[in-house]
């Protein structure tokens, strides 16, 4: 299945784009998507953290992503 991942902050700089489309197997988890991204873009390894949000909520690593989920990369936040 195709998963579109949206990026903000430094994640956007690393992708050199505000989104990337990944071809993932069905039943892929958040951890699988993160691993695929780190494999494609090793610079993600240098970040203090890299969370993923699904449908505008933080989810755990074992969350299984569905085709139409809104998946967003959340590098370390620094608001305030």
């Amino acid at each position: 299945m195709k998963i579109e991942v949206i990026a903000f902050g430094i994640a956007k700089d690393i992708l050199n784009s505000n989104q990337v489309t990944l071809e993932m197997e069905e039943q892929s988890s958040v951890a699988d998507v993160r691993q695929a991204l780190v494999d494609l873009y090793p610079a993600f390894q240098g970040l203090a953290s890299l969370q993923l949000a699904v449908n505008a909520d933080y989810v755990s690593d074992d969350y299984l992503i569905k085709e139409n989920d809104e998946v967003v990369l959340i590098p370390p936040v620094s608001g305030g």
Partner: protein
């Protein structure tokens, strides 16, 4: 209508925020205004840029306000955050908390800014004379 949870690219107005939160049952109103510092570790900062995943940021800000009310028995919580380019000295965030008693208001206000910095998907880029850096991105 009161806008308690808000993200805007326009200049924040702390006085208007305070006036939004007036509550007859409350004897204490505590506010926190986060402004853009002119330096980081001695290096002059020219300006900041904030980027937000707005839909989720508003949701997380609302959760913080709801939690603050439950944890500290405060009556009202306002959280406004700026996005886009922000100049040195301008406000990046305004938090106002109203409670019947001051101690709860102080505690809730601190809880709100601490949790915002930890959870809300907003990112700050600092611009220096010799380059720009996403804050806290690297360990």
């Amino acid at each position: 209508m009161k806008t308690l949870i808000h993200i805007t690219s326009e200049k924040l107005d702390p006085q208007a925020c305070l006036e939004t939160i007036s509550y007859p049952e409350c004897g204490g109103i505590v506010s926190f205004v986060g402004t853009v510092r002119n330096q980081t570790k001695g290096k002059p900062v020219l300006k900041l840029e904030f980027e937000a995943y707005e839909k989720m940021a508003l949701k997380e800000m609302q959760k913080i306000a709801d939690q603050a009310k439950i944890k500290f028995q405060v009556e009202e919580v306002l959280i406004h955050h700026r996005t886009g380019l922000v100049k040195v000295g301008e406000e990046a965030v305004v938090i106002v908390v109203a409670a019947p008693h001051r101690k709860a208001a102080f505690q809730a206000c601190e809880y709100c800014i601490d949790t915002l910095k930890e959870m809300v998907p907003i990112w700050k880029k600092e611009f220096f004379e010799d380059g720009e850096v996403w804050v806290s991105a690297h360990p």
